[in-house]
Amino acid sequence: MFYREAGDFKTSYTADSQTFPIKFDRYRYYVVLAVAFGIIPFIINDYWANALLLPFLIYAIAAIGLNILVGYCGQVSLGTGGFMAVGAYACYKLMTAFPDISMFIHVILAGGITAIVGVLFGLPSLRIKGFYLAVATLAAQFFLVWLFNRVPWFYNYSASGQINAPERDVFGIVITGPNAPAWATYLFCLIFVTVCAIVARNLTRGSTGRKWMAIRDMDIAAEIIGVNPLKAKLTAFAVSSFFVGVAGALFFAVYLGAVEVGEVFGIQKSFLVLFMVIIGGLGSIFGSFAGAAFLVLLPVVLKLIGVDLLGWPTDIVAHLNLVVVGALIIMFLILEPHGLAQLWRVAKEKLRLWPFPH
């Protein structure tokens, strides 16, 4: 009844091609933004920020990045953890080398450096495809982690081999370090998420995204109709790595504060982000958010229900968590291969017809 195009007249081409063509969707989007920017910062506390919202927002950026590469361009990558590490270490080196420069610039530059590294490791994608490419990106994952562990320059010769985020601010508000207020770190990440999502959404709707999808669906046909595979694949790697690098920089500087590369950016991280993309839905920006939310919140919710509510032993709940996540991944692959985004799409289709489904 409320959710339909009827009655929402578009009088210009810009209006006709907007992201949310349905009025209800548009308002819902504004409400989400208003709540995220206008209400949550005032009620947030340390637990909400550090246990739920920051990881959700940061993983959402990483998932959007990987979704561009895997979901839109069809290039399978297992190097996400390594590229996040590039972002984190680039951010660390920049933060310590130029302490007076705003964190915004550091994070964006870290993303840029990751984009260059991503393009470098994307070069093999011109010759190899599918599983073989996955293995090539796996090499990037192991190489990058080894590099950051091996070369002391990257961690400023600290005794422990860890990198620690010093206190840095944006317009006088502390963003990193232990004294950063929860609302500031949350807003900082939220701004990045919003900008990244809007950029990604518009890239994938435009000619660049169409080229990526053409390559994904059939690269030879795409080449014949005039898509340059070199450009398409490398731009996908660059944009994807940029987002992943931004996520890595935020993950280190804002969320964790101290990072040990082998543990934090190991192969598990690559798989985790890949699971987010698969569960959320390949080739969907909303899916990236849904997947990130699902995999960040699920363990916390399971823990709250199992340990705090039912009083079960912590180890049983931790094991149960593995079982549940595994079972859900299998269930999703069988029942809904297109992920949470597809459920959302189906729901929207149903809503459009409601209350007269025939």
């Binding site: 989400v32 506390n45 340390d46 637990y47 909400w48 550090n50 246990a51 739920l52 990881p55 959700f56 562990n149 005794a159 422990s160 081999g161 860890q162 620690n164 010093p166 206190e167 370090g177 232990p178 004294n179 969320y255 964790l256 504060g257 101290a258 040990e260 082998g262 543990e263 934090v264 958010f289 849904a290 939310a293 699902f294 919140l297 916390v300 919710v301 823990k303 709250l304 340990v307 705090d308 509510l309 032993p313 912590t314 180890d315 709940v317 931790a318 094991h319």
Partner: protein
């Protein structure tokens, strides 16, 4: 998005439980993952001691103790989540039993004013209380361990290590890298040659490292491992027939489960220690009576007397004594984390005190001060005997090279202070 909000509302509802008037001790344990072998007995010991105090004495100073266990899986992200979810409950002291999580928590606890006790692990230079106001690592730290191992080697070599080679097999993480600095300084001082052999976490893959040891035949091998890495290292050493009496592990590489898989071949393996061995202490009678027989053990109740169980017990005892000290200092029983910090800084452990607790000789005598958060750094050495299945004490608690370690601690903590704009306290 709706799903997200619903789950967030649910979690908020549960996170906002009322703060009860008791002594809250979070236990960031790990009973899962590749390091669970060490995490389970430690956490059991830690929990059981507080259960004993609750059952026998009704808590500390009449205040019941509430232990909140939170599973970290030795993972720093989960550690942060655990910290954030428990600190609001009035947590008095954190003991994460993980160097990685410790590094994560040092700035956070300092900002939140909660003490952090990293007994025999964590950031070594936190021993300098002038810089690290809220971090304590008494009674011994990694650099005491490194020096203790070298001192033991000096003893068996009549004080001369010139021309000898020592290989360090270490967990390639902040934990394993800690002793390198000290060993390098000591190698200069005593003229031995140091080879570094990193093992990537979790440590099941050590073939190439041990191949190198087999080829280069170092005189001594020092092991800095944890969890599954120890078992693999001892097994690999047995496989290449490395003489076990020349193989020394740090205290986290010296538990029963580390050597048992290698069977008889592990006999002779040495390890450092800063706590007592076995269950031949009066406190165990009480534990049996009030905890085990009452069916109130934290775990399966099969770890009593094990090396890491004793460490958990010892850590809990030190925390309980610090609570008592804080209660006396401030004259209230329901203490705050800030009072707990004062209590830890004024903690004094004497032989008489330990005897009163039924733990005579369990650890060294020591006192903490504003400047020194690291304790005396006394290190003993034990040796494994597979035929009896016991660790035997071969060297009592002995002091370590305070001169070398003190200089390194001052250097590292000064660097930390400069990095974070901390001015020194205690003046």
């Amino acid at each position: 998005m709706n799903k997200t909000l619903a789950t967030m509302a649910l979690s908020a509802l549960m996170a906002a439980g009322p703060a009860m008037a008791d002594l809250v001790i979070p236990d960031l344990s790990y009973r899962t993952g590749p390091f669970a072998a060490g995490g389970i007995p430690f956490s059991d010991g830690y929990n059981d001691y507080f259960t004993l105090l609750n059952e026998r004495d009704g808590g500390i100073g009449g205040e019941p103790i509430r232990v909140i266990e939170c599973e970290t899986g030795y993972n720093t992200e989960k550690g942060v989540e655990c910290y954030e979810s428990t600190k609001g409950e009035g947590a008095l002291v954190y003991q994460p039993l993980s160097t990685g999580i410790t590094y994560q928590l040092i700035p956070k606890v300092t900002a939140d004013g909660i003490p952090l006790h990293t007994m025999g692990y964590g950031r070594t230079s936190a021993a300098n209380g002038k810089v690290f106001s809220n971090v304590f690592n008494y009674p011994a730290n990694y650099w005491n361990g490194a020096s203790g191992a070298v001192n033991h080697l000096l003893d068996i070599n009549d004080g001369d290590l010139k021309g000898k080679t020592i290989a360090l097999v270490y967990h390639n993480s902040a934990y394993g890298k800690e002793p390198i600095r000290t060993l390098e300084a000591l190698s200069e001082k005593y003229g031995f040659e140091l080879t570094l052999l990193p093992v990537d976490s979790p440590g099941q893959e050590q073939k190439s490292q041990w191949l190198q040891i087999r080829r280069e035949k170092p005189d001594y091998v020092v092991l800095w491992g944890w969890g599954i890495m120890n078992q693999v290292a001892v097994q690999e050493a047995a496989n290449i027939r490395y003489p076990m009496e020349n193989f020394i592990g740090v205290w986290w590489s010296g538990a029963e489960f580390d050597v048992e898989p290698a069977g008889d071949k592990a006999t002779g393996y040495k390890a450092l220690t800063f706590t007592g061995l076995g269950d031949d202490y009066p406190v165990y009678d009480d534990l049996k009576k009030y905890v085990v027989d009452a069916g109130k053990t934290a775990g399966a109740g099969d770890q009593l007397g094990a090396v890491q169980y004793n460490r958990g017990l010892y850590a809990a005892m030190l925390a309980a004594e610090a609570i008592k000290t804080a209660q006396e200092m401030h004259g209230v029983t329901d203490i705050t984390p800030a009072m707990m910090r004062d209590g830890m800084e004024a903690l004094e452990i004497t032989n008489a005190k330990m005897e009163g607790l039924g733990m005579a000789g369990f650890g060294p005598e020591f006192s903490v001060s504003c400047e020194n958060h690291g304790g005396p750094g006394l290190v003993g050495v034990v040796q494994w005997d597979a035929s009896t299945g016991t660790w035997n004490n071969i060297q009592d608690f002995k002091p370590t090279d305070g001169e070398v370690i003190g200089a390194l601690i001052n250097e590292d903590s000064a660097a930390y202070a400069a990095e974070n704009n901390i001015s020194e306290r205690c003046e």
